[in-house]
Symmetry: C2
Subunit: 204 residues, 2 copies
DNA sequence: AGATTGAACGATTTGTTGAATATTCAGGAA
DNA sequence: TTCCTGAATATTCAACAAATCGTTCAATCT
């Protein structure tokens, strides 16, 4: 069994190298198989198909990112507002830089989000869990006020409101500074709202 | 001069019929010309090109929509919150229904937003003017509280936050009821925020 | 003159064909 | 038996050819 896992990671490592070097479309299953000293057919005993290898890599990648986010959400000496801020900005910067620096990542992101829409939902759901924690903290400390609906719903709404900053270069040509400025504003809107508020209880 | 305008509207009407019947790609300039009993070449004395006819049609359409929005924003006996709500929902419903009922509209929207990105900006800027008016009303009545930045910026942020609901079926397969539910939540988030608020001053 | 035409041009799209490649599976090795 | 192979098959892709269509402009009409 551990045997089987080893082979899987071997395949994944080979595919990672090929994908990042030549791109998803330009690497063939035969090449990955050769890199692993096995036949193309054998790959299919470990992964249902080529796309599943890419999805597996993306999953690993995202789980690392999730840990990072979880750490930001746990920062003990920060206000909930600051932690929410850090979360949303980390999300923006990560995807922006990833797509900017690595055209291959862009290619794979496009393909996966087209062929595997559930994957995007899975990522959203996982990030939402972290947002929920921050919201609950904020509520417990009295820093936030309940809006009546369950926090999960509130987290969903936050995600809907920052949707524009998810794959930024997919639907606008804005630069990172401009995007950060906008996100800053949306963040403020989300936290403070438009209605009159109590004089800030967020003293240090 | 009025003569020239007549010919333009004749062309536009012919193109409208063709576009909505066969789609943008499947209607040829020659066909539109024939419908107007003129030669293809003559069309170019009235429009720089095919895409400009489509853009003109979209402009007319949007201006009608803008008037509708302006009326909603002017409703005298509604709170600013309600008017903002009406505005955002009207926007969602219009685009959703338009793209749902008329696959041709979808085609044209895609082409224009690809080939003429300024057009999308122009639409946003015009809607923003209306949002600004509502915000100013809300501030004047004390229903909203200034966040320190100019209302134009605030309006921009609102638009950023509801971006997901602009061409809904472009980046999600959600149904209209589900989208409305989400927009409802985002709207609440924008208006009330997460921070503690004064007990509602919006009594009737 | 100015307005209009429609044939001519070049860009874009469409259709087709052959090669490249993902996937399968009958068979062979361990 | 279980694991693996590699040729066979089905799908996708790329390149080329043909046709279509947007656009132009010299010639024609009013």
């Amino acid at each position: 069994m551990a045997e089987k896992e080893d082979v899987r990671t071997q395949i994944v490592e080979a595919a990672k190298k090929r994908f990042s070097h030549f791109g998803y479309a330009k690497t063939t299953m035969a090449e990955v198989a050769t890199d692993c000293s096995m036949s193309p057919g054998n790959l299919y005993r470990f992964f249902p198909g080529k796309l599943d290898i890419a999805e597996y890599i993306a999953t690993q990648d995202f789980e690392k990112h999730l840990q990072h986010l979880a750490a930001l959400a746990d920062a003990p000496d920060k206000t909930a507002r600051q932690r929410l801020h850090d979360l949303l900005f980390e999300e923006l910067r990560r995807t922006y830089n990833k797509l900017e620096s690595d055209p291959r990542a862009y290619e794979i992101a496009l393909i996966i989000s087209r062929e595997r829409p559930e994957f995007a939902n899975w990522m959203l759901a996982n990030e939402r869990k972290i947002i929920v924690k921050v919201l609950e903290d904020g509520l417990r400390q009295g820093e936030f006020q309940s809006c009546g609906c369950p926090v999960e719903k509130t987290a969903e709404m936050i995600q809907a409101a920052v949707m524009k900053f998810r794959y930024p270069q997919l639907w606008s040509k804005l630069t990172l500074p401009k995007l950060e400025q906008e996100l800053e504003g949306v963040m403020q809107l989300i936290v403070d709202g438009l209605s009159p508020r109590l004089p800030c209880p967020e003293a240090a």
